[in-house]
Symmetry: C2
Subunit: 305 residues, 2 copies
Amino acid sequence: MFADRLMESIKKKGNPSVLGLDPRPGMIPRCIRDVHGEDLGRAVFEFNKALIDAVADLVPAVKLQIAFYEALGLEGLRAYRETADYAKERGLLVIGDIKRGDISSTAEAYRDAHLFGHFRCDAVTLNPFLGYDSVEPFLKACSRDGKGVFILVKTSNPSSGDLQNLKVGDEYLYQYLAGKVAEWGRDLLGKYGYSSVGAVVGATYPGELKVLRRIMPHTPLLLPGYGAQGAGGRDVAAAFDDKGLGAVVNSSRALAGAYLRAEKPECVTVEEFKKYTRDEALRMRDDITDAIKNRDINMQGECQS
Amino acid sequence: MFADRLMESIKKKGNPSVLGLDPRPGMIPRCIRDVHGEDLGRAVFEFNKALIDAVADLVPAVKLQIAFYEALGLEGLRAYRETADYAKERGLLVIGDIKRGDISSTAEAYRDAHLFGHFRCDAVTLNPFLGYDSVEPFLKACSRDGKGVFILVKTSNPSSGDLQNLKVGDEYLYQYLAGKVAEWGRDLLGKYGYSSVGAVVGATYPGELKVLRRIMPHTPLLLPGYGAQGAGGRDVAAAFDDKGLGAVVNSSRALAGAYLRAEKPECVTVEEFKKYTRDEALRMRDDITDAIKNRDINMQGECQS
């Protein structure tokens, strides 16, 4: 099942970081872009391949934000599929960040497209605005076919509170939703105590994250917002259990753009590009695992003061 | 601007019906499927083309549910683009039913993809779960580039109440959201008194529709749920103003599957297929326009009884 594969992979790599693959054409280094000339789809795939090759032994999973591929049309979507297939070949779990949500017959079409059809992700992100019947076709894929989902609960963006922080009775909407997500995943628990029905919680809201972890103790959390959006290891530490399991943290721009720190970024070679990415991935891994280790010390400190 | 183009087109055709193009491969008649053999993308395009040709002089717009194209992979998405382009050639407005919603930099990528890039729709549907900054890049496209959006407010599916009908203060979430959508569209009003920022309201919830029309008097409504999902002309009548403007009603399965009423559906020719579609489109038009005309009589009746 998905939850177990994810937890095993985090354990094996000793790292809960996810490589986010959000190809902005302007971020592709010249050493890759120039070789593939006008074939942008190919350049995107080679860019992703270099990123994957740089960190495949370090991270458990990749997350592909499909919007950046759709923006490049059919060649972009071809690169999306090829990237997903390549990441699988390299032993990584593939999360399709599609945030779809639609009425049930349409949700079935999305499920078929992104889990079993042309695009074969291990898990996808879902938007819960349409309610249970929009999620249900995906839950079946979790129980029958070992797939996973991460349902939006509290997103990382500045306006996420517009709807998600509305007061519903005596709780916030995101808390209510967390209860639903926990309920939907109750029958899909694996041997590590986590469900294949996960939740997306922005690393940019560490206060909310702590509350949400309590409401959803068995829900794997996918945490975007680390790095370029501003969150660090201390902001995500509360998401993890004592074994360092239970969550994954995504970084996209900080990994793909690590080479921009070079003195002459336009001159870096592919090997140098990979080295910058790998160094940032190692820094991120240590930042998060240290924060988890030091969490208890910090918490003791808080209690004593 | 989009709102004016939509209202003018409704006025010219005397019809607020939208042809929904949701190609389920099993619904393509044999006369089209057999000719194009294993090229499913081509079969889907020819199916859509026959539907468009059948009703292009009758309806103001088409709506493409992108999930059914994604389910067919790259060849499906090629058919999506070709269908959108063909509908435009035939003078129809194109609504991409994509229901996207993401953080702002990602929303920009979706906007570029679906309004200006490979897929050039006149308007798209959006999911508001992530709040204002997820919608804002699209609002710019409405004001600067004459594009339109329809934001989900109350969807047509059975579970739509799970979130949308939560009580927020003394109103329902969908009512709160309607207020926001009206606010976001306030500066984008056209000469018919309607904004280029529209809302999606399920025709399957006529009670909610009446309330929402009052909260959003200047918001064009896109009403799914007519036909196969159960709603009829009387359910949507309250969405329209006295001139029959202000809303569009989508039907997909009832139009594309009208030929299934034939004695031997497997034997219908392309011309017969078009005739069945056209007859259903005419029936739908008359059903809705009659319901709008009779609305005032019915309302008087309600008052007298």
